[in-house]
Amino acid sequence: MTDTYSALVNNPVGGFVAKNLGLPKPVPLDRYVEGAPLIDGAVLVGSAPGGRLGPSVATILAGADAHVDSRLDDEVRSPLGAAGVDAGVWNPEAPGSQRWKGLVFDATGITSSEQLRELWSFFHPTIRRLAPSGRLIVLGTPPEDCTEPRHATAQRALEGFVRAAGKECRYGATAQLTYVAPGAEERLESTLRFFLSPRSAYVCGQLARIGAGKDVPGIDWERPLHGKVALVTGASRGIGEAIARTLERDGAHVVGLDVPPLADDLEKVVSSIGGSAIVADITDPEAPAQICDELQAKHGGVDVVVHNAGVTRDKTLGGMDEERWSLLMDINLSSEERINDALIERDLLNDNGRVVCVSSMSGIAGNAGQTNYSTSKAGVIGMVQSMAPVFAERGATINAVAPGFIETQMTAAMPIGPREAGRRMNSLSQGGLPVDVAEAIAWFASPASTGLNGNVVRVCGQSLIGA
């Protein structure tokens, strides 16, 4: 799983050659280390006039004890002061040598296309001052929640800005957009924290929608899943193992699930994190009942369900036999639906429960040789969207992550051409790590993420492939 090219261009000679040949130069990304502060550097905050998220942003940054700067004449200084943030002053006309790890702009005040100039005003003098692995974050209002057409138009435009800015950000910096529905201001914290922190290392150019949901409970941000039970399917290796370890790090008791042939690997993983194991084949018609029985017997229910188990059975459609299609569809999609239905039927998903699914970039963009896989992963997105209201009724949420090129045994076995293309054809010019997917799942799984429902966020370094 070593990325030889990255190692090469990050030594002095290789770096010189890459620069002069105009080759991509991936930089090592900052990643979360337990106990580290939310963000390793100062955050510049700004607001378009009339923005409504200033108080939320100020409170979140105050709670994270972040060093904050803003322009002296920015409206956001009032909420910053009120929240107890002793924010520094930055003046683009006397810029000095200031750098930031985060740039956060509240664009909710933008109600017309003319006012989109506020984006330019804030980011033009600052984007080049973003530190390596920096974070560019724009906050907006969901266009569907804007009553005036011009308002909706301007807010929809933010998406283009963030996607382009993500491609311009250098040295491992990323850009994200978060739409916060009116009334959902208090539910911003888990998302702003995720996007600011190194936990979102391989997430770039993405959009999160925060809407209605339960009130956010008070939580320990170091261990947000403390006291929670999390079921992770396909937990014995790869991304599944990283998910299990990350949820455990965040405080959860992890119940790992995998098929009988992988029972030994599964046992090793769960025993190392103090979790428990369910050995089952999820395509077995009895599996949903077995899973529900075990969860009910040992834990009385479950708080987080991560549908991670999945397979590929690649073949172009003309050459694909029926088993490749049907088995894959059953593992990747239908079994997840059956487990969801069983959990709902037996009312085993605890209050403020979470279902997080693993979709794929292939499910968004489609991939030659993967009609089956792409169908199943697009189906996962469909399931997330169609089930979101169902889970919302029960005080729960369902969301998905869609990984791009992640460095696993599976991608290591790819031929060099497609592998290098997959690694480089994204804004960060490198593949992600299993933990990057796990961190995004942990964000959705957090009890504080009550406003996130029906979201699909890619963990792909802003791959050129797909939307």
């Binding site: 803003s70 910053l80 002061g81 009120a82 002793d86 930055w90 003046n91 006397a94």
Partner: protein, 425 residues
């Protein structure tokens, strides 16, 4: 004890023109200059031979022999030698502090009249013996036997000829005042252009004040100097823009034009009770209302060295139930343009006002047309302890000529201090 207070009023002021360091006053001592300023005031007010309640004065840079500088100076004037005097020291706040002290005594009825004054020279600086040499000499002085003395003298080294020169640096940080202010300028995002604009206005306004005769009864020529030597009106942003930064490194915004130069000068203010003024046929120009001093922790704290006035003013405003906008004139000492602009920025900043001042709303901005209307220290220069008297005298006359009004004085001082006050007419 008297529990009643009465108004203390400013009657007159006088200063000598301020000179640049090692200029026309290079050979004048603090005592020479202070005597000249006092003489001018005594003549202008017609109080020769009067016994005053007291004279308070001071100098920031002072020879050890000048332990009684103010008293010795007054003995060289035509004021009654029966007038007591004392020296005060609060760095650049010295001049204003002498005024506050004497005004308070007048208000309490302890004295009826006083002169508050200050002087400083950076030319005739108190150069001292080399510290190592001094220690040997001190020891030799207390040694009894000649043999032991000879042994001590054998410790003398040629390097000990190098004297101890007063440093323009904060003892606890090692940074010069300019370097400290450069940090403030950076922290508050103060632009070079804004600083240069303030400097140009300061020079142009002081020059206009001289032209219109405003300074005629405030300044007495001395040693061939009729106007402040530093005054250079008619400059432009373009011209000042060519100067190299002197503080804050190559990216700094502070230049010789928007920082005050080292300078020499003296000033004095006559104040009294209303009754005393009446008895002596003198017209009160303005009334002392209140004063406040503040200090910040510029060593370990989060505030810049010269930010203390930003704290002192709001405390004084609250006590007097005034807003920052309730003034007709603002006299903010221009130690550096960046100090003035950082202070104004802090008062406009919701974060500073909430976090550090504990206020619900920012103090807000001031009408810049009311700021240092007759020029400030950037133009006149800043002989440390003489600045307070210049500003008090200036503001009192401005208020009087205006036919009334309220004026704010704000002076920053070394050691993270600030001295502020209010005059009314």
């Amino acid at each position: 004890m008297n529990s009643q207070t009465r108004p203390a009023v400013v009657l007159a002021s006088n200063r000598i023109p301020f000179a640049r360091s090692n200029g026309p006053y290079a050979k004048a001592s603090n005592q020479d200059m202070l005597t000249a300023a006092l003489d001018g005031l005594i003549a202008a007010a017609g109080i020769a031979g009067e016994r005053l309640g007291e004279i308070a004065g001071g100098a920031v840079l002072k020879h050890s022999r000048d332990f009684n500088l103010t008293r010795e100076s007054l003995l060289g004037t035509r004021i009654s030698p029966e007038t007591p005097a004392y020296d005060v020291g609060q760095a650049c706040g010295t001049g204003l502090e002498t005024f506050i002290l004497t005004a308070n005594k007048v208000a309490l009825g302890q004295i009826d009249s006083a002169i508050a004054c200050g002087v400083d020279t950076t030319s005739d600086a108190p150069v001292a013996l080399n510290e190592d040499l001094r220690k040997i000499l001190m020891e030799a002085n207390s040694t009894k036997s000649n043999a032991d003395r000879a042994k001590l003298l054998a410790k003398l080294r040629p390097g000990m000829i190098v004297p101890e020169i007063p440093q323009n640096a904060e003892p606890r940080t090692g940074l010069s005042m300019g370097e400290h202010t450069a940090i403030m300028a950076r922290d508050w995002g103060i632009t070079r252009e804004a600083q240069d604009e303030l400097a140009i206005a300061s020079h142009d306004r002081l020059a206009a004040a001289y032209e219109e005769g405003f300074e005629d009864d405030l300044v007495t020529p001395y040693l061939g100097l009729e106007r402040d030597q530093n005054l250079r009106p008619g400059s432009t942003l373009e011209k000042l823009g060519k100067l190299k930064p002197v503080f804050g490194g190559p990216e700094g915004t502070m230049t010789a034009a928007n920082s005050t130069p080292l300078s020499d000068g003296a000033s004095a203010v006559l104040l009294s009770s209303e009754q005393w003024a009446k008895e002596h046929g003198l017209t009160p120009l303005a009334r002392f209302v209140d004063a406040e001093t503040a200090a910040v922790d510029h060593v370990g704290g989060r505030d810049g060295l010269l930010m203390a006035p930003a704290y002192a003013v709001p405390r004084m405003l609250a006590r007097n139930e005034l807003s920052l906008q309730d003034f007709d004139f603002y006299e903010i000492h221009e130690a550096f343009a960046a100090q003035v602009l950082s202070t104004l920025a802090a008062w406009e900043d919701p974060v500073f006002c909430h976090e550090r001042l504990g206020l619900d709303a920012p103090l807000g901005s001031i009408d810049r047309a009311k700021l240092n209307v007759k020029g400030g220290s950037l133009a006149a220069a800043h002989p440390f302890a003489a600045t307070g008297g210049r500003i008090v005298g200036n503001l009192a006359k401005i208020l009087h000529e205006n036919g009334g009004g309220r004026g704010l004085i704000s002076i920053c001082a070394a050691g993270g201090q600030g001295v502020v006050g209010i005059l009314e007419a």
